[in-house]
Amino acid sequence: MNEIADILASAGLWSAVLRIATPLIFGTLGALLCERAGVLNLGIEGIMTFGAMVGWLAVYNGADLWTGVLVAALCGGAFGALHAGLTVTLGLSQHVSGLGVTLFSASFSYYIFRLLVPVSGTPPTVEPFQPIAIPGLSDLPFVGPALFTQTTPTYLAIVLVIVLGYLVFKTPMGLAIRMTGENPHAAEAQGVNPIVIRYGCVIFGSALMAIGGSFLTLSAFNSFFPTMVQGRGWICIALVVFAMWRPSRALLGALLFAFFDAFQFRLQTVLSGVVPYQVFLMIPYILSIAALAFMARRARVPQALMQPFRRGER
C-alpha cells in the first residue's frame, strides 16, 4: 500500500496526467463539436495518426514547431472536408464513411512516412516543445511542478475547453450548432444553413483531432512510428459520451482517463513479476467501455446525430 501512496504523492504522476490528457482533450473536443452538429466522426483515429505524422514531418524538414501544428490542423481539416462531403453532401452512412476516412488517412500517413523517411535502426527525432514554467505558480510546492510546468499545447488545450464551452452554450453560433444537431429542419426554418454548420463543425473538429495527434510527436514524444495512436481516437469517441456532449465534462473525462493511464503505468513497475503487464495496458480500454455502460443511459444524445439532412426529404 505504501508504494501506491508514494505513486499518488509524486508530482511526476500528476504532471504526466496533464500530458497524457492533452491529445485526448483535443480529440474529444473535436469529436464533440462534430457530434453537436449531428455528425459522428469515426475518422478520428486516422486523422490523429495523420496529424501526428504530418506535424512531425514538417518540423523534421525544418519548419518550426507551431508551423508543424498548423500543417497538422490544415491536413486534419482537409480530411474533415472529405468526411463532410461523404456524410453531409451525399448523406452516406456516417459509420462506414468515418471508418473509410480512418483507413485512408492512417494508411496514407504510413505511406508518406515510409516514402520520405528512409528505414533506419534508430528512428529520426525532432526537438519537441519544451515545458514552460508559469512564473509564480510553478514555484508552489507540489502543485507547481505537477500542474504548471507543461508544454504550451497543454495550456492551449485547457484554454480551448473554456472557449469551446462558451462557444457552444453562450453564443448564437453555438445555438445554431446545437439546433443543427437536434433538428436540422427546424434550424433551417430559423434561417440557419445546416449544411454550412455541419461542414464547418466537421472541418474544424477534424483540425482539432489532428492537432491532438501532432501533440504526440511534437510534445509527448519526438518521433513518429506507425500505430502510435493506439486507439486514442476511439477512446475520444467514448469520452464524448462520457462527457454528455459538454466540453467541461470532456476535460474531466480526459483527466480521469489520463489519471488511470498514468497510474497503471507506474503501478506496473511496482507489481512487475506479479501481474502481467498486459493487464495494465488493458485497463484504459476496459475503463472506457465501463464508462460507456455507466453513462449511455443518462446521456442525452443529440437527436439528429447520424441522420443525414436532405432538403425536402425527411
Binding site: 452516406l92 462506414v96 476511439w234 498486459q278 488493458m282 432538403r311
Partner: protein, 349 residues
C-alpha cells in the same frame, strides 16, 4: 444542384459500383506511385505479377483470400442488420488463441477428423462470445457497439499477448513470444501440394453460400434485413428484434472467430500478435465492396488479397512502400460508397 432518389435500378447498377470503385482506387494509387518516382505501368505490372504471376503467387493470394472471406462475411452479415461489428480483428485473435489452447491442452492426441471440426467450432464460439458482450451492452445499456467492438479489439490482442507470454508460451521458441503449437493432427489439409493453400478457402466459400441461402430463403434472413432497414417498423411487424440480433451476432462473430481458427490451423500452426495483418478491418472493406452480398464477398476478398500479396512483390521490385496496398484498399472503400450512392440517386439541377 440536388439529389433525387432513383425509382428503379438496372442490373448494370448492381455490378458497376465495385468495378468503378476498384478502377478509381487503382487510378488514384497510380498517382501515389508516380509521386514515389516509379513508372506507373511497370509498377502495376509488378503488382499483377506479384499476385498472379506464378504458381506460388496464385496460391499465396488464395491463402490470403480465405480469412478475408470470413472477416468479410462477419462484417457483411452484421452490417446488413445494422449491427456495427467493427471488432472482427479481436474476434479473430480470440478464435485463434482458443484453438491453440484447446488443441494443445485438451484435444492433444485425437485424430484430425475429430479434432479439426471441434477446433473450428471452438474458434467460432470464441468469436461469438466476444461479439455477444457488446451486443448485450447495446441491448441492456443502449451502448453503441461501434466503440465497444473497436475497443475490445485492443483488449483481445493484449489478452492474446498475455497468454502467449505466460501460460500458453511455447517453451521451445527461444523466448520468442509465440503460443504453443496446435497438434499436428489439427493442421488443415492442403488443397494444392507444395503450397500453403489449405481447405480454409473452401470453408470460407461454403460459408458464403450457406449465408447467402439463409439470407435469401429463410424467415430469419428476411427478419435480419428488416431489422437493419427499419428497426421500429420491423418490431411493429412482429420481428423478434433481440433474437434476430443475437443470431446475427453469432453468425458474424462466429465467422470472424473461424477466420482466426483457419489461420492458425492452416498457415501458422501457432499464434503470435502478428497473426493478422488487419484481416478484421480489411473485412469491412471486403463487405462494402461486395455491397454486403455474401457471394460478392468471395470476389472482393480475392481483390483485396491480390492487392496485399501483389503490393509485397511490387514493393520488392520497385521500392514503393507496401502501405500502398492499404491506401488502395481504403480508397476502394471510399469510392465504393460514392459509386453506390449514385446508383441510388440521380443529380438534378
Amino acid at each position: 444542384m440536388r439529389f433525387e432518389r432513383r425509382e428503379q435500378r438496372s442490373t448494370l447498377m448492381v455490378f458497376a459500383p465495385p468495378l468503378l470503385a476498384v478502377g478509381v482506387s487503382l487510378m488514384l494509387s497510380g498517382v501515389l506511385i508516380a509521386l514515389a518516382g516509379a513508372p506507373i505501368l511497370e509498377a502495376f505490372g509488378a503488382l499483377l505479377n506479384g499476385a498472379f504471376g506464378s504458381r506460388l503467387a496464385i496460391t499465396e493470394t488464395l491463402t490470403r483470400t480465405a480469412p478475408l472471406i470470413l472477416t468479410g462475411l462477419a462484417a457483411a452479415t452484421a452490417f446488413r442488420a445494422k449491427l456495427w461489428n467493427i471488432g472482427a480483428e479481436g474476434q479473430l485473435y480470440l478464435g485463434a488463441i482458443v484453438v491453440a489452447a484447446v488443441s494443445s491442452q485438451v484435444l492433444g492426441g485425437l485424430p484430425g477428423y475429430v479434432q479439426i471440426p471441434l477446433l473450428l467450432v471452438a474458434g467460432s464460439v470464441a468469436g461469438m462470445v466476444l461479439l455477444l458482450v457488446p451486443l448485450w451492452m447495446r441491448l441492456r445499456f443502449s451502448v453503441d457497439e461501434v466503440v465497444t467492438t473497436l475497443l475490445l479489439n485492443f483488449v483481445a490482442i493484449l489478452f492474446v499477448s498475455m497468454l502467449i507470454d505466460t501460460v500458453l508460451k511455447d517453451p521451445l521458441a527461444f523466448g520468442w513470444p509465440q503460443s504453443v503449437p496446435v497438434a499436428d493432427e489439427a493442421m488443415l489439409p492442403r488443397i494444392v501440394s507444395r503450397s500453403r493453400l489449405h481447405v480454409g478457402l473452401l470453408i470460407g466459400i461454403l460459408l458464403a453460400l450457406v449465408i447467402y441461402f439463409i439470407q435469401s430463403r429463410t424467415v430469419f434472413g428476411i427478419q435480419s434485413r428488416a431489422a437493419g432497414f427499419n428497426a421500429s417498423a420491423a418490431k411493429f411487424a412482429g420481428v423478434p428484434l433481440k433474437k434476430t440480433l443475437v443470431l446475427v451476432a453469432m453468425i458474424s462473430g462466429g465467422a470472424a472467430g473461424l477466420a482466426g481458427a483457419i489461420e492458425v490451423m492452416g498457415v501458422q500452426g501457432y499464434v503470435t500478435t502478428e497473426l493478422s495483418p488487419s484481416f478484421g478491418y480489411s473485412g469491412i472493406v471486403v463487405a462494402m465492396l461486395a455491397n454486403l452480398n455474401p457471394i460478392g464477398v468471395i470476389f472482393s476478398a480475392l481483390f483485396i488479397a491480390a492487392m496485399f500479396v501483389g503490393a509485397d512483390g511490387m514493393s520488392r521490385a520497385m521500392g514503393i512502400p507496401t502501405y500502398i496496398a492499404d491506401v488502395t484498399v481504403a480508397l476502394s472503400l471510399l469510392s465504393m460508397l460514392v459509386a453506390v450512392f449514385f446508383t441510388q440517386y440521380r443529380v438534378r439541377k
